[in-house]
């Protein structure tokens, strides 16, 4: 048998490499972000301590509020566009229709494609001159509907939201499908004996059973909405005139384009804070309703 001390040493040695990389590259940087956020700093010259001034400046900046508003738009898009759609698809596919596998495969495909590819493909669809969307509108005689989908401030956020739904809907579909398939057949049979059918069964039996999964997807969707970057960075870069900017883009532009590392760090702390707060609220509301 091993001596206790040998075991302890082996555990320590086994965990150490993971801990070093994980703490060094994922945890400590957060503390550094917090630290940097109190300085005026371009990453090269000496840091100048300015207390909470970065945060004050951020809250005074209209562009920041615009980007926060756009984050909320993305959040709502996820909550009302992706989750109900994903749930509806899962409910249909759970019934063992013919062609089930095909729809599942196709539905999940965009999730596997990198967000860069998704953005570039949608960039072509929205292309003003040669894009698919304007082309189709021309073919069916709706030329007057053609527009600069990403460049028109009234439409740019909507266009991005559509691409965002396309990208992630399949993920929620699969998660719900997994939850639905875990419901035992006895529950279904009992419900049907009681005369629950169709939509009524869905709302009175099925949805309450998978409620924990729905709560998790809601939290997942919210925290994802604060992480959106690639899609918008590539489709519009946050433009036109900051109309599609979200907090991550705002952070990236301030830090890596304008070289304001202190200011950018303060934004990144806010991203962390906001996503955390909204997730905690969603979690609490969801638990109470249970």
């Amino acid at each position: 048998m091993h001596t206790l001390r040998n075991t302890k040493l082996a555990i320590f040695v086994g965990l150490l490499p993971s801990l070093i990389i994980y703490i060094g590259v994922a945890i400590i940087p957060i503390l550094f972000s917090l630290y940097y956020s109190f300085f005026n700093w371009d990453g090269i010259s000496p840091k100048i301590f300015i207390g909470f001034e970065n945060f004050v400046d951020i809250f005074k900046d209209d562009i920041f509020w615009l980007s926060l508003k756009n984050n909320v738009v993305i959040m709502i898009t996820g909550l009302i566009g992706q989750i109900p759609l994903g749930l509806a698809l899962a409910l249909l596919l759970n019934k063992g229709l013919k062609g089930n596998g095909f729809f599942r495969t196709v539905g999940f495909l965009p999730v596997v494609v990198s967000s860069v590819m998704v953005s570039l493909i949608w960039g072509m669809i929205y292309n003003t001159e040669y894009g698919f969307l304007n082309g189709i509108l021309g073919v069916i005689g709706l030329e007057s509907w053609q527009k600069n989908w990403l460049g028109d401030p009234d439409w740019s956020m909507l266009s991005i939201s559509l691409a965002y739904i396309w990208q992630n809907c399949g993920l929620y579909m699969i998660i719900f499908l997994a939850a639905l398939q875990n419901i035992s057949s006895e529950v279904n049979e009992a419900a049907e004996l009681d005369g629950a059918r169709g939509l009524r069964k869905v709302f009175t039996i099925t949805i309450p059973i998978i409620r924990p999964t729905i709560l998790v997807t809601i939290i997942f969707s919210i925290s994802n909405s604060f992480r959106v970057f690639d899609l918008i960075q590539i489709l519009t870069g946050g433009g036109p005139a900051h109309q599609t900017e979200v907090m991550t883009i705002y952070m990236y532009n301030n830090a890596f384009v304008s070289r304001q590392f202190g200011y950018g760090s303060a934004v990144s702390i806010l991203i962390l804070l906001f996503s955390f707060i909204v997730v905690v609220i969603a979690n609490r509301v969801g638990r109470e309703k249970n």
Partner: protein, 276 residues
Amino acid sequence: MNKKTPLYYVIAYTFLGAFALFNIVPIFYMIVGSFKTEQEYATSPFSLPEVLQFSNYAKAWDIANMDLYFINSLLITFASLMVTVLLGSLAAYFLSRFEFKLRGATYALFLLGMLIPIHATLIPIFMIMKNLSLLDTYLSLILPYTAFHLSLTIFILEGFMRTFPRDLEESGVMEGAGLYRIFWSIILPITRPAIATVVILNFIYNWNEYLFALVLISSESLKTLPLGIANFVGVETASLTLQMAALTIALVPIIIFYLLLQKQLVNGMVAGAVKG
């Protein structure tokens, strides 16, 4: 099962069909476009190509440095994946099979990683890599990819290893095998299904990653596929068919990968998403 009316099937298939079209058409449109001449595309964007222009592919492959991006992506993806899975499975083994004082705290610390938006770490990681002179090297991506995916890896593997019966290691102990021997010869082999899931998930995440690459890599010769292709499309704005060919080249391997490993991937995504 209760009987469905024909109307139900009509509605169900219309809905599913519309959704499938919505998912396929953008990709199909791009692949068809990639085989057209520039002029053909401009005049009749919806017709099928008269002659398949394979030259678009040769040109795109050449101009876009696709071979370079593929090699870089493969190297970085596999290196991060190996390190993550090796270190992650070892950590999961100790966290799942042993009781020690800081076990709970260590596990919780690792799980925290799934809540952290990487954006909150971007600037310090950039500075750390700069100070260590690692900026613009393979390692500058391998380290963050490993660090951020250890959480999910440990989470999935720990959950799986925990389900093994308690006396599993007994024979190993009887024969005097050390802990690492037991890990390698007894635990790892039976963890294989979960490891397959973790490998696929890590592969997809690393292969698709963009933000770290954007910030940490600047040399053309080190660019990964997402970064390189985004850059190419940004520069090569004149020729849409060339862009489409480049995108198709980048897309096809991941679609094949997906179709081959669909079942395992979907299971993994569900495990990761539902619990994460």
